[in-house]
Every structure is written in structure tokens, then in C-alpha cells.
Symmetry: C2
Subunit: 658 residues, 2 copies
């Protein structure tokens, strides 16, 4: 009692002091500066029209100047083609990482090495300069994000990129040529053995032509299992393989984990095999593909598939080892299960025991039991086969139950307390439901048309709870208008309490992010500078052409003029480069700095050159000096007080003079 009374007394004293300050009656002790003193909380609420809930939102999301965020959300950049890195809970964009679309600030697609990365990921005869980036996947170790790499797919051109999180740099883009579009990627297996990429719109495999009339016969889908070589930090196409699929339109995928490790799951729509033709008397795909009440969940035993490929059962199409549909079907690698109707998301629970499928034209989330699926496959208890000979399991025998969600359920994430969170597109809500009871416990409005959602550590074996981010496709009236093309809206929702609570709206200023993964910030350990000086980020080692201080030089060789240059505050050496019209010019530039943030840019006027040379970095760039004239070249990153003086000239003497 005595203790309690004293504690009560202390509490009252604290209450009075804090309350006094909040109400603006306090003289500003401890306040950062005097200007703040007069502005108590009540005054500020009145001045800015803030409600009590707003104050909570403000205080739960504000990250004070100089402090860091707790989580980092990696969101796809949609048809911007990039990866957007966001601090949570502040929802500040920390970086837009150039992945598929050239970006001059990072020099991505401007130096020789990154030009080659884009080129290597493009079809022969063209260079792709955009992508529809969809689903980023962080590398995992034992089913947990390890913060080392992140992968992302390009739906438009069926590509997969590898981003090294040591320096947040895209180091590889692969395109199989097997499939023409993808959607069910990227998803990684629990130790990042494979990066999964499933096709979306069927096409003849390997890029062949076949008339649309041959759709059923000649068009196919596929799931590619890209082998990731962690030691090299690269996908190894030679050790990658694929499973041929019927020409249903495959949608999202997820990899099994823990008890379901070794399996993957891909759903589909358009088991009707519709393919448009709306100007030719056929229904548009949207109705043609929406006739059947059930589509098919594709269940793949990828460990068995891997063994069969190793045993030589694959054929090679466009350089990729492909397990033929008949082999996959006959050997139990591929099995189908009915799933209601035109589903979108498939999400494996953190414990790996269940698979949640949300049917966008159905009102349920369907919960499949992996144990039941596995037993039925082992016992070969099929209800039949599809037209392509793929065995089908019984829908009622594979599910534990269904959750009545609402109109247009799409995607599901999980927390640490046994709840699941499913986005509901048409209703524009997130439904929180109990995994145990399969009952919705709360719905929270989203603004508007929520697609994916991302939970803190949400795709791991141990989600954190705490936050989900609703990824809304439309924003309409939520932000200051910026013209007919409006931002998307990420809404930060606190899920730490019994009830979900909306904390903040965040406009997405470029691209249409589809999905994201949210990792604890302290799992990321990027390097501050490149060591040793002269490191080529793509090679990961010192560049053979790296330039040591004092060894700067210009050499004329058979293939053109080679400029071995260094950059250091505040000059390039050499700063004067003389070539002749028509010369190939090769700049090899090393940033000698080892001070954090001492980045130099290198731009050459009118020659479309811009490099970003971070401290210690080396870059090479080659171009033909095909126009005579005087071209300033300069540091494009404000590096010092004498940054403007960090400049020189490329002098291109007209051909025919001497």
C-alpha cells in the first residue's frame, strides 16, 4: 500500500509536469529550442485541426531528425521498373534502386557494365528500357529473410533481376526466352536454392510463333526454378530448369516452408482457355476467363522435379531444361487442385502447414491443408485428370475450411499471434481473421482498391506482427492533386493491438507498386564505401582497369583513346582530353575517396554519359566521339564547396584537321 501510494504520488507529479508542457503552459525546458515552447499539444491540435487519433498516428510514425526507421519495406516499382526502398514507420522513401529501367543518378544503364546487364537481359535485336516489376523477394536462410539479396520479376518481359544488398546494386538480369510474360515470381525457396518465376499469359514455349487458333495445342505456361548461386551472388542459368504447364493463365506462386519445404504452389485463372478475340465476335478475356466456378491450384514437388531433371528427363527449349508436361504429370511432380474462382493470391502460412488461396470472384479465402494434399498425392487418390493429363485432387478432401471474407479477396499475410490479414479489393478493406476459427474479427477500410499487403517479416517462418502496409491501387482524393495520373497509396496500419489502426497514408510518386517485403532494418548491413579503392561493383573486385592516384594517363590504342582518370575533391585528373572525331573513347575512372558519402558524378555534355562513382568505386564507359566540338565534362554530384570547379573539357577535333 505504501509503495503503491508513493508510486501514485510520483505518477501524479509526472502527469502534472508533462500535462503542463503539452498544454503550452510550460516554459520550454528541454524543448529543442525556444520557438517550440509556446506550442503545446493542445495548441498544435487546434492550429492544425488534428484529432486525438491523428496525434496517435503522428507519434507512432514520426521518426525524429537523425533517427532511423525500424523496418525497411522493399516495394516493387511496378511499370516504373525499379525497386522502392521505404523506411517504416516513417514511410519515407530511402532509395529508388534502378533495376530494369536506366537511371542516371545511379549511372545504371550508362556505364559499360550496367549497359551489358540490361543488354544480356534483353531479347536478341533489342534493348529493353523498362519493365513491369512485380514481386520482390528477399533472400532467405532457413525461411527467414537474411538481408543479403533481393530478387524481382518483370511481368512484361519475363525477366528476373538480382540486387545485391551489400550496395543496393542490380548485378544481374536473366531472361529465359522460354516464356513471354510472368507473374508468379519472384518467390524464393527457404534457403534461396531457387528463385521461382511462373508464366502468366500462355505462348508457344521458347518464343516460337503459332497462330492464336492453335492456343490449346501450341500455347503453354511454365514455372522456372532459377538456381541461385549464393557464393557468386548470381543466378546460374545452366543449373536452372522449368516445368511445362497447361495454357491456363498462371497467377501468383509461393514456396512451401518447414513441413512443406520442397514444394511450391501456383494458382491460375482462365482454365476456360479463353484468349480474347473481342473484335472477332468472341467475348473479351475478362468474361471468357470468368465462366468456370473453379480454376486450378498447381502443386509442384520441386525436389522431385529437380531429381528428374538431373536424371535427364528434361528437354531443352531456348537453352532452358524443361520437364515436359507429360513427364511432370506422370511422375507426380505436377498436381492440380480445384480452387474457387479466378483466384489471385496464394500464400503459405508461416508454419508451412497451410496454403491460403483467395479467389477474386469468390467471397472466400480457402485454406488448404498441406498434410492432406501430400497424403492424397502419395496415395495417388486423384478425382481425374485435366485435358492435358495432369492429375487432379479433390477440393473438399484437401481443404480445412473457408473463411467468409467479402467481395474480391486477393492476398494474405500473417502475424505472430495466429491471425491472417486478407486484402479485399472490391470492398476496399483488409479483413483480419483468426487462423484457428477461420472467422473474420475486424475489417479496416483502405483508400482505395487495395491489392497486395506487406506485413513486417511477413513471408518468413516468424512474422513480427506490428505493421502491415496496404498497397492501394487508387488514391483519388487522398492527396493534393497532381493531374490525371495519380499516385498509388500505401497505408500504414498498426497491427500490434487487438484492433488494426490506420496510422498514415503515403503517396507512391512513381510506378505502381505491386508487392513488397518488409525486413527488420538491423538485418541490413550495407557497406558505406567500396574497398579496396578501384572496386567495380558489378565484378565485386578491383577492376582490371582501376587507376591508382599518380598513375593517371591517356593512351591511344588500337581500339581508341583510353583515359585513365581519377576523381577526388575537387578535380578529375586528367581534366583535359583531346580526341579526334570518330575516335572511340574509353574512360576508366576511379573515385579515390574513402570518405562516406563522397560520391562523384561524371557527366559529358551532349554525349549522354553520366556515371555515379561512389567512394572507392571504379567505372568504365566507352562511346564514339562522332561529333566534333568542345564538350564540358564535370562532376554531377555536389561534392564540395568547389564542386562547380570540378570540371574539364573533352575536345573533339574535327576529322580532317591535324
Amino acid at each position: 500500500m505504501g509503495k503503491s501510494r508513493r508510486s501514485m504520488g510520483r505518477r501524479i507529479a509526472v502527469v502534472c509536469a508533462v500535462a503542463a508542457w503539452f498544454l503550452g503552459a510550460f516554459a520550454g525546458h528541454g524543448v529543442r529550442n525556444a520557438a517550440a515552447a509556446g506550442a503545446g499539444v493542445a495548441d498544435l491540435m487546434k492550429q492544425r485541426g488534428l484529432s486525438e487519433a491523428d496525434v496517435v498516428g503522428a507519434l507512432k510514425t514520426y521518426v525524429p531528425p537523425g533517427k532511423h526507421d525500424d523496418y525497411v519495406l522493399f516495394a516493387s516499382g511496378g511499370h516504373g521498373g525499379q525497386l522502392i526502398v521505404i523506411g517504416v514507420p516513417s514511410m519515407r522513401i530511402l532509395k529508388v534502386v534502378a533495376v530494369f529501367t536506366p537511371e542516371p543518378w545511379q549511372g545504371f544503364g550508362f556505364d559499360d557494365d550496367t549497359k551489358n546487364i540490361i543488354k544480356a537481359g534483353s531479347p536478341a535485336g533489342t534493348t529493353l528500357t523498362w519493365a513491369d516489376s512485380h514481386h520482390p523477394a528477399l533472400s532467405e536462410t532457413q525461411g527467414d529473410y537474411d538481408g543479403k539479396y533481393i530478387f524481382i520479376n518483370d511481368k512484361a518481359n519475363a525477366r528476373v533481376a538480382v540486387v545485391n544488398l551489400e550496395d543496393f546494386t542490380t548485378v544481374q538480369i536473366v531472361r529465359s526466352g522460354l516464356i513471354q510474360s510472368d507473374h508468379g515470381g519472384t518467390f524464393v525457396t527457404p534457403n534461396t536454392e531457387y528463385v521461382i518465376e511462373a508464366s502468366q499469359y500462355p505462348a508457344p514455349l521458347g518464343g516460337a510463333y503459332a497462330p492464336i487458333e492453335d492456343f490449346e495445342k501450341s500455347y503453354r505456361g511454365a514455372i522456372i526454378y532459377w538456381k541461385f548461386d549464393r557464393e557468386k551472388g548470381r543466378i546460374d542459368p545452366a543449373r536452372s530448369w522449368a516445368v511445362e504447364l497447361p495454357p491456363y493463365m498462371q497467377d501468383l506462386s509461393d514456396a512451401g516452408k518447414l513441413v512443406s519445404e520442397g514444394w511450391s504452389f501456383t494458382n491460375s485463372f482462365d482454365t476456360e482457355l479463353a484468349h480474347g478475340g473481342n473484335a472477332e465476335g468472341k467475348p473479351p478475356l475478362e468474361s471468357g476467363a470468368s465462366q468456370n466456378d473453379m480454376d486450378y491450384l498447381h502443386v509442384v514437388d520441386w525436389k522431385k522435379g529437380e531429381a528428374l531433371v538431373a536424371a535427364g528427363k528434361a528437354k531443352v527449349i531456348a537453352g532452358m531444361k524443361v520437364l515436359p508436361l507429360e513427364v511432370a504429370a506422370a511422375e507426380g511432380v505436377l498436381t492440380l487442385i480445384p480452387e474457387p474462382k479466378s483466384p489471385h493470391g496464394v500464400d503459405v502460412t508461416p508454419d508451412g502447414t497451410e496454403i491460403v488461396v483467395a479467389g477474386k470472384l469468390d467471397t472466400h479465402a480457402t485454406v488448404y491443408s498441406f498434410d492432406k494434399i501430400k497424403k492424397l498425392i502419395e496415395q495417388k487418390q486423384y478425382t481425374g485428370k485435366d485435358a492435358y493429363g495432369v492429375p487432379i485432387l479433390s477440393f473438399p478432401d484437401t481443404i480445412r475450411g473457408q473463411v467468409e471474407i467479402g467481395l474480391g479477396p486477393l492476398h494474405t499475410q500473417f502475424d505472430d499471434k495466429g491471425f491472417a490479414y486478407t486484402t479485399v479489393f472490391i470492398e476496399s478493406v483488409i479483413a483480419k481473421w483468426s487462423r484457428k476459427d477461420l472467422k473474420v474479427v475486424q475489417k479496416i477500410p483502405c483508400h482505395y482498391n487495395v491489392g497486395h499487403l506487406a506485413a513486417a517479416e511477413g513471408d518468413t517462418v516468424s512474422p513480427d506482427g506490428k505493421y502491415v502496409v496496404a498497397m492501394d491501387k487508387w488514391s483519388i482524393d487522398r492527396f493534393q492533386p497532381v493531374g490525371p495520373l495519380e499516385p498509388q497509396n500505401f497505408q500504414l496500419i498498426d497491427i500490434s493491438g487487438d484492433q488494426m489502426q490506420l496510422l498514415a497514408d503515403m503517396p507512391l510518386p512513381m510506378g505502381e507498386p505491386h508487392y513488397g517485403q518488409m525486413i527488420k532494418a538491423d538485418k541490413l548491413k550495407p557497406i558505406p564505401v567500396y574497398k579496396p579503392v578501384g572496386t567495380n561493383p558489378i565484378l565485386g573486385t578491383k577492376d582490371p582497369e582501376a587507376v591508382d592516384g599518380g598513375k593517371e594517363r591517356i593512351e591511344r590504342k588500337a581500339d581508341g583513346v583510353h583515359v585513365y582518370m581519377t576523381a577526388v575533391r575537387s578535380h578529375f585528373t586528367p581534366d583535359t582530353v583531346r580526341v579526334k572525331e570518330g575516335d572511340m573513347v574509353h574512360f576508366h575512372i576511379t573515385n579515390l575517396e574513402q570518405t562516406q558519402d563522397a560520391t562523384h558524378g561524371f557527366g559529358v555534355d551532349a554525349y549522354n554519359v553520366n556515371l555515379s562513382l561512389e567512394p572507392g568505386e571504379h567505372n568504365n564507359v566507352s562511346f564514339k566521339a562522332d561529333r566534333a566540338g568542345v564538350f564540358p565534362m564535370y562532376c554531377t554530384e555536389f561534392c564540395s564547396a568547389l564542386h562547380l570547379e570540378m570540371a574539364g573539357y573533352l575536345l573533339v577535333e574535327p576529322a580532317g584537321t591535324h
Copy 2:
């Protein structure tokens, strides 16, 4: 007394109620949902380690979900080449507007019209895909931002872009070819008669070649006065003109206003005429250009210049009318005034009476009197001429005084209370000083290396006070690390009180913003959808190829296959397009929607096509179908529940088949 006592009583009652809630003792009445109830302010401060100043920062910057910002900051995207639109005080990025760098989300540089905009702004023989965008300038009416247009320059390639704020779309890029780089642009005259672009690194005018040894003789600078035709919403190159300048490195510019309307001011460094050669025994530019204690402020009487050009005194270089240096000097169009040392910023005061120059190697801001300058020019009271014959005014006779600022002063903005705010790069502070007393009253730390700053309505004749944003070049440790290439840092500072107060840090996730202008949000009136349906945003009218619903068709013409297509949730019509390998394909697509935010994308796999079709918008795109195969084409913007079904096929039959 009675009234006062009652009011005191009421105040106490309010205090108690609010205080109770703040401290978590309130049951949550009025709180958005129950989860918030337990979380009082004191609890949240403790949980999240927030100080009292942090609470003030949070409450002054938080914009509640669904509410709009008060100001919009248009910041340059630096060598990202774009324009970044930021809400203030939330510091949320509302949009990254594609200006110089192709951006697929907006379809900028992907459809025929915007490809042509980029092409028209590129030197013959090349297509530029990046820029070093520096200084955005909002259009003005009577010296006040009018919210209609914004202009921005490209330092790297000496270009100027026009962005229409009706739809936040880049509609024009001009490149004179006269100069090879710029810096002192864009700045507009008070009624946007002209958009000013001053050169930076001297070169032979018009793109000619001259050896670097002829620097003094053959290299020149220039200021271009681009004529803006407000009715057409375009710069009119034919009515634009330039003033030839000595080969000093011209730096920033500003236009006179009110009493100084009709004049413009451009400073410079490198009056030493150094030009590098550090591998040839000469000093690097950074030291060569830092020898003189004084450089030159260039004062231009542009109204007189305009009259002389109209009178035929200009010569034509690279298609641009250029007032020769000797004419400009002789006629009083161009006058020089000494300015201390290697200055960077030149800023005209809101009342137009004074010009503030900050010398980056000097510790002062120098305050010039326009009245004194004008009188001396009228009286031709020169102290001499420079080597190029340009008359020079007396430094002491033109200034009102100097303000002792600190190490590395750069740029100055103003408020509504008679104070000026100067960034100090080396000290990393903003110095607030009294215009009346020319004395610093406060310095606030910036993190780190502050370059420009932007004040609310800061470049108008009536700044708002309220906020300045410090544009810091380095961020080092301020944010969660994202690799060696770190974000820049915008710091929002409250200037409404006696003392400046730091409210928030904002990472800049792409490019290195140089400058920005901050406008009252309610001055911007963008359209929500394009009317009539079929509007081409670049033409500003209905496109001649616009497609009405029901009139969709495919026509084979002499120049290839023309596809007249419409888009509406959730299909393209026609959705099946058959062409032959080698055909030119011309898509003409109208988005029939008139619902706000009902944007459709249009991507063609492997053909590097992505359009953004906002509601009512029409786009055209042409490409050669040079590879046979089956290419899905689909809507790349998540438009509806059946968005994935909004797809079709481009079928390219191999050549030689029939």
C-alpha cells in the same frame, strides 16, 4: 474580471479533459478506434523515445490520412533528370514528373509524341536520355507564382523544359545549340515573358570546335532569354534571343522584379579564365579559378537588349539571335560589378530593391542596391572595362553593405518579416539575418552541407514565411543505410516563430535535387481527367487519330498496320492483332474512361512499349514488328478486379509464311 474568471474556469476544464486523454487515462472517446485509447502521448513518447521537441515536430508535420498538404515543393531531380513534387509539411513525395529522362510509368519517352519531345531537344545524331536538372521556376504573373507552368534547365546539355501544371506533363524541351552547358537557369521574368538560361562552362558559341589554347579568344558564355508564349504554352525559339558574354564561368541568375523589373543578374567565377590542364602542368580548375578576390556580377538590361535585337543588332548563331558582346557592352545592356569571391547564389529581394550575392570563398553576403546600380549605369560612371570591353561599376558605390555570415555562404531566401536566410555550405548551417540591420540573428545546423534552400513562396514579391527547406547535399548517418550511394537530405524548418526550428529530415531517394520552389497548394488546379475523350496531352486537343467507342478497327495502309483501339475496364478492343514480321505497327489508343484515377497502361511484351493512358487520354505509338512470335499485350496499371484479364495478343507471323 468576472469574464476573465469564467474564461479561466473553462480553460482549466479543457486542460483537464485533454490532459487526461494525453496521459492515457481517457477511455478513448473520439479516438479513431479502440486500439488508440490506451496509447496516451506520454506512453507513446516513452515507447518510441520521443522528446518534447520530437512531439512538436511530429504534430507540425503530420498530415492525417486523407488530408492534403498546405504547400507543394517542386524540387529538381538533379542528375536523375526529373522534377520531384513534394507535399509540405508532410514531406511526402506526391509525384516524380518525367522531364528529361524516359520514365515508363508515365509513358514519357515511350509514345510517339514524347519520343519526339526528347528527340527535338537532343543534338542532331543522338538521343539524350538523361539530364542534370537544376533550377525549377514556376510561371509568374505580376511577380507571383501563378501555378500554371514550371520550367527547368538541364545543366549537362544546356536544355530547358516546359511542364504544364494542368496535367503535370512535360510538353517541350528546347536546346539552343548555342551553349554547351548551363547553370543560371531557369529563372523567369515577373510575367513570364522570358525564361532565363545562362551558360556555365564556356565553349565556342554554336557548337564549333576550337582548341583549348584559344580559350580567351574563341570560348564564350551567353545568357539566353527564351520567349514564353503563354497562349500556346510553349517557348517560341524564333522570338528568343541571347547576350554574348566573356568566357567567365557564369553561375546563378535571378530576374529583377518591381523596381528592378526589366533587368537580370548573373554572377560568375573564374574571371581568371583558368581552364584546367592538371595533367599538363597547369593547376586544376578548382585552384586556377580561385585566385582572384573578386569576380563579376553581370547586370543585364534585358528590356534594352530586347529592343536592340528587335532593331536588328543581333547576329544569328546556331539559329539563335545573339547580341554580340561588343554591342551589349557599348549599349549598356551588359555591365559588370565586382563581387567577392567565387560567388554562387544571386537573389533579388522580394521588393526588387536589392540583390544579395553570396561568395562561396568569402564569408559575407553582399547586398547590392539596385537604385545605386541603375543610377551609375545611367550616368555611365564606370571604374573601367574588362578585357572584353565590358564596363565595370564600383563595388563600394553599388553596395548597401555586407553581412558577416560564415564559411561558404551560398543561397538566400526571404520571409514576410524582413529576414533573409542564407545557406552556409562549409559550416552546414542556415543563417537568418535582418535585412534592415544586416546582422545574423540565428544559425541553425543542417545535416549536412546545405546547398540551396527553398522558402514558402520564396521567389515571389510576397514570400509567406512559415517554412524553409534546407537542401542538404550529404546525409551520411541521418537515415537507415542503403549502400555507398546515399540519399540527399531535405530538412523542413519552421520559420514562423522568432527562432528557426527543425521539424523533420526527408531522404531524397533519387537524383541530387539542387533547387526547388514552394507554392501554396491551392494555387494548383490540375485537371482530374482529360476532356474530351481522346485528348492528346501534348497537343492539348483531341487527337486526329482518337478512337470513338464502337469505331475500333485495324487498317493496313501504305505505312503499315494501324490499330485503332480503345481501353475501358477491363478490355482493349481489338484484343487480338495479327501482323507480319517486318510490318510497321501503329497503335492509336483512346482510354474511354472519364472516372478519376481510371488509368490504363498498355504494354507489349518484348517490344519495349509501355503507355500510360489516363482517363480520356489518347496516345500513339509506332514500332517495327521485326521479330516473329506471340507477344502478350496487357494493361500495366491495376485498374479493376479483372485487371489481369485486360490482355490480348500481338501475333507476329514470320516473314515468308502466308
